[in-house]
């Protein structure tokens, strides 16, 4: 019981410290704290539309963060969700444009599958290289992000370009490839349902299945798994694929639910923020649900703060960075306390 209390206390301390940082920065800009805080909160809770926007933004974050967390479980430090997301987006666009006549009942599962496969394939590259040749996945995934982003840039100017407009973007996708709008006039779409289903799927995979057990064991002590006859490389590669696939679904969801066409910059760094979300959610599927909504709210709120109180939105990045650093300190203090307390 006592440990539970400590958990809450330390969480409060972390929250307090983070708020302090945020308030300090707001004061630095010379904005009125009360004005800034109220515009932040109104940006999130001010209307049902504002609240729905939080969920809209949480959707890709949740999917990508689930992907990142699966990688983290096996010790595959996947910093490439951004690129995998873009690959998913390319895949759905290309598929929907090549087969425009498919009925939704075929189209939707197809684009989901293709998007998953594209993201998974993109993550397979660093996954395979890590498993087979122990090449650092950290750098490889980041390099692949830049490649994927530039690839989108090329495609929307060449083979996927909408010939009707001079801008770098693809044509509007056939309607059969659109996710259902759940609660018009809000922009909440079926991607959110997909994300929540994936939460369950990931939970089952990680905590209930044999493969999930192997993944966790590999992440905690790969050497022991090797000695025990568990296929370490298989677990690593599969976790990379699954993780990349989920990030790819984030791309699918953004296109099918929101943009309906491929443009540059469909992701304002979702793939990177997803890493923060996964860490905040302690790599646990349920934790990730809350963390993704929380971070989405932070971003939406800070946008409102910029509009009305003149506080730059980059405060959100600062807060996220600081939050992770505080959590790192808390966790290490906690593990020391646990070891000494028993």
């Amino acid at each position: 019981m006592k440990r539970r209390d400590d958990e809450w206390v330390s969480l409060l301390v972390v929250t307090g410290a983070t708020l302090l940082v945020a308030f300090g920065l707001i004061a630095l800009v010379g904005s009125n704290l009360m004005v800034a805080a109220s515009s932040f909160l109104r940006g999130i809770f001010g209307s049902s539309y504002a609240m729905s926007e939080v969920l809209v933004r949480a959707t890709p974050l949740m999917l990508a963060a689930l992907g990142v967390s699966i990688g983290f479980k096996t010790g595959f430090t996947n910093l490439g969700a951004e690129g995998q997301l873009y690959m998913g987006a390319i895949a759905i666009t290309a598929t929907a444009l090549v087969f425009p006549g498919l009925p939704p009942i075929v189209m939707i599962p197809l684009v989901i599958l293709v998007g998953f496969a594209a993201g998974g394939a993109w993550a397979l590259i660093p996954g395979f290289l890590k498993a087979r040749f122990s090449i650092s996945e950290v750098i490889m995934t980041i390099m692949l992000n830049y490649v994927a982003i530039n690839l989108v840039g090329i495609l929307v100017r060449t083979s996927l370009k909408d010939p009707a407009y001079p801008y770098p973007m693809s044509p509007i996708l056939p309607e059969s490839a659109n996710f259902m709008q759940m609660l018009p006039p809000t922009r909440i779409h079926a991607g959110l349902v997909m994300a929540l289903l994936m939460v369950i799927a990931v939970h089952l995979l990680v905590f209930r299945s044999r493969l999930g057990f192997e993944m966790r064991a590999v992440g905690l002590n790969g050497r022991a798994c090797l000695c025990s006859g568990i296929q370490v490389n298989r677990a690593t590669i599969l976790s990379a694929i699954a993780g990349g696939g989920l990030a790819g679904l984030a791309g699918v969801s953004e296109i099918a639910g929101l943009h309906h066409r491929l443009i540059e910059g469909i992701s304002p760094g979702f793939g990177y923020v997803a890493i923060i979300v996964a860490l905040l959610g302690k790599n646990h599927p349920v934790g990730i649900v809350f963390a993704s909504i929380g971070i989405a709210a932070l971003q939406i709120g800070s946008m409102a703060m910029q509009r009305t109180a003149g506080v730059p939105t980059s405060i959100a990045s600062i807060v996220m960075g600081a939050l992770i650093l505080f959590l790192v300190i808390r966790d290490s203090r906690q593990s020391i306390a646990i070891l000494e307390g028993v």
Binding site: L25, L28, V29, T77, L79, L129, F133, S134, I135, S136, V138, I139, M140, I142, M143, L144, Y146, V147, N150, L151, G153, I154, R157, T158, Y272, I275, I276, L279, P312, S314, I315, A316, S317, I318, V319, M320, G321, A322, I324, L325, V328, I329, D331, S332, R333
Partner: protein
């Protein structure tokens, strides 16, 4: 243009592109040799770039600007070292969080100081400093000795680092701390102190690398000005196998790719510029593939040292 002029300017441009990578890479290699894996080079460079720009902008003094850049880099590398050593934190996560922090912080402070502007505030840049006599050697003089202060500084750092790594006791100590901290400790070395010193160098050199971008190359600052150069510096460290001249070589190769892509982009071929922009990244990937089977990471890289835990 005459072919020889093209070649000369290309090489000179490659060197200028390579400088920030080489400086930051050298710093990171010192850190990694001691066992501290800091993937927050991006954060170090960003802070270096931002603070040096701010100081040059407001005081006009390059000396103070360079100093500010070093301090900016230091703030990030020392924070990383402190969390890694004192709290035995996961070094990759700290580095990552710092990248967020620095990205947010620099653009926040920048917007705070200048507001949303249509024209970027800019300063004059550090000029070239041709070395008398040497600069008049054909080709080599143009490529090597008609450069700015940072180029000479980088070359000097490389030589110094080489001597330090392979000829001094500190180099041996650094190696020991990264390979086998327990052995280093029992031999009477202060493991944590040495790691802090390594982080110090990392901050200074990375900060200089960042400062180069703003006060030498561009003369202005904008959000995320490093655009992944910190990560590419990490690649240079791996390719160069943590040896000063190896890193310089790797930085030159990547810098060459960068110079080439800019040249091709501006050539106006009708091909989307993204294809060329992708080129340096594809090259680093290809180069990473070449390191297969020759990894030489320090044995204790990324692992916190704890006497009580053996």
């Amino acid at each position: 243009m005459e072919p020889i002029v093209v070649v000369t300017t290309f090489f000179a441009a490659s060197i200028r592109m390579a400088i920030p990578l080489a400086l930051a890479g050298l710093g990171e290699s010192i850190s990694e040799k001691s066992g501290l894996l800091n993937i927050g080079v991006e954060a170090i460079m960003l802070c270096g770039a931002f603070f040096s720009f701010m100081v040059v902008f407001s005081t006009g003094s390059f000396f103070l600007g360079i100093l500010a850049g070093m301090l900016g880099g230091l703030s990030m590398s020392m924070l990383h070292a402190f969390l890694s050593i004192r709290f035995k934190a996961n070094q990759t996560i700290v580095g990552l969080a710092q990248n967020f922090l620095a990205l947010g912080l620099t653009s926040f402070l920048f917007l705070m100081s200048f507001g949303q502007t249509t024209t970027l505030p800019s300063t004059r840049v550090l000029g070239d400093l041709p070395i008398p006599l040497l600069s008049s050697i054909p080709f080599i003089g143009q490529v090597l000795f008609s450069q700015n202060l940072f180029v000479y500084l980088t070359l000097g750092c490389m030589v110094l680092a080489h001597i330090c790594f392979y000829k001094t006791d500190f180099g041996v100590a650094l190696h020991a701390v990264g390979e086998h901290p327990i052995a280093a400790d029992t031999a009477g070395l202060q493991v944590h102190t040495i790691r802090y010193i390594a982080a110090l160098f990392n901050g200074i050199l990375g900060g200089l690398g960042g400062a180069y971008l703003t006060i030498v190359k561009l003369g202005f600052f904008q959000e995320n000005i490093t655009a992944g150069k910190g990560y590419i510096a990490l690649v240079a460290v791996i390719l160069g196998k943590r040896t000063p001249f190896g890193i310089l070589g790797a930085a030159l190769v990547i810098g060459g790719a960068e110079a080439l892509q800019i040249r091709l982009q501006t050539a106006g071929t009708g091909i989307p510029s993204q294809l060329f922009a992708m080129f340096p990244y594809l090259m680093t990937i290809a180069a990473l593939l070449l390191t297969i089977g020759s990894a030489n990471d320090p044995a204790a890289l990324g692992i916190p040292y704890d006497r009580d835990k053996r």
